[in-house]
Point group: C2
Chain length 187, copies 2
Amino acid sequence: MKNKKETIAIDMDGVIADVEAQLIAWYHRDHGILISREDMIGKPEPDAFPNKEVIFEYLQTPGFFRTLPVMPGAIEVVQELMKDYDVYIVTAAMEFPLSLYEKYQWLQEHFPFISWKNIIMCGDKSVIDTDYLIDDHIKNLDFCKGRPIMFNAGHNSNIDHHQRVNTWGEVRTLFNDIRNLSKSEAV
Amino acid sequence: MKNKKETIAIDMDGVIADVEAQLIAWYHRDHGILISREDMIGKPEPDAFPNKEVIFEYLQTPGFFRTLPVMPGAIEVVQELMKDYDVYIVTAAMEFPLSLYEKYQWLQEHFPFISWKNIIMCGDKSVIDTDYLIDDHIKNLDFCKGRPIMFNAGHNSNIDHHQRVNTWGEVRTLFNDIRNLSKSEAV
């Protein structure tokens, strides 16, 4: 038995916070055009919309990050993982500095059980060293020091060099398998 | 020759931003009592002041982190280090979430040459993996993955299990020595 828990870094946008859903909803509200998740497959998020400038504006709009919907199942599964792992929320917030406090408030609202000690807002994630990284962006997964786990998103749907999880239910199953394997190896 | 530069994580408060100077100045302004740097030796910062509650209030006051004086020499030496190292600013901002954007603005004003990609605002620094950490707090230095370098502060003056630097001039000298040693070993 190891004394120290293994560590998992979990990304926010596109992993525990549903950015695609918010972009679709706001674009429909403002422009009357309903883009589907299927329309977003295989492209960077802004490219899925007729006017991509609007998307860049949304990302700079106060309230955008504060009101993101929670990804289904994320709260329950993160709580389960915290029993066996040290979980860190690691988000590339520095690209949108106005979002820093909004992201903190969002976590306080939806994930109040995560200590401020376990929140990391950064730019580049390459100096973050955890045993696992759950993220939707290959720019982070490709260079992470631990085991990369790619959370499904339209923009990464054509990428096949990382293990993919499509839902938080699949994250739960994967870590159950990892723990069972670890136990059987310890016997 | 290594292709990849070594990495240095540099703390903000007490290292590039002079928190002691701001606390002394604000306390004098509000209470007419001038605490000296000598009074701060060997104690946590709040304990050096007659009314420590005031210090906790300052840390939560809008503008406190935005207006911190720059530590003498920090700007020049950080710029020099960036020629040979990947420098990350790593600050435990999550303890004072209102400071998140203030700290970003402060860096933009005084260290505009540091990319947003190289700024990390966190709680616990234990998952940050860089080759060096320059910090004033042993809670960070004791558990860092790289080589710890302790920047002098009143509160750490009685600690002797880390290499101490007293000024940014001494940081410059130390890294000159490290680079010279590295070159001589490479010959």
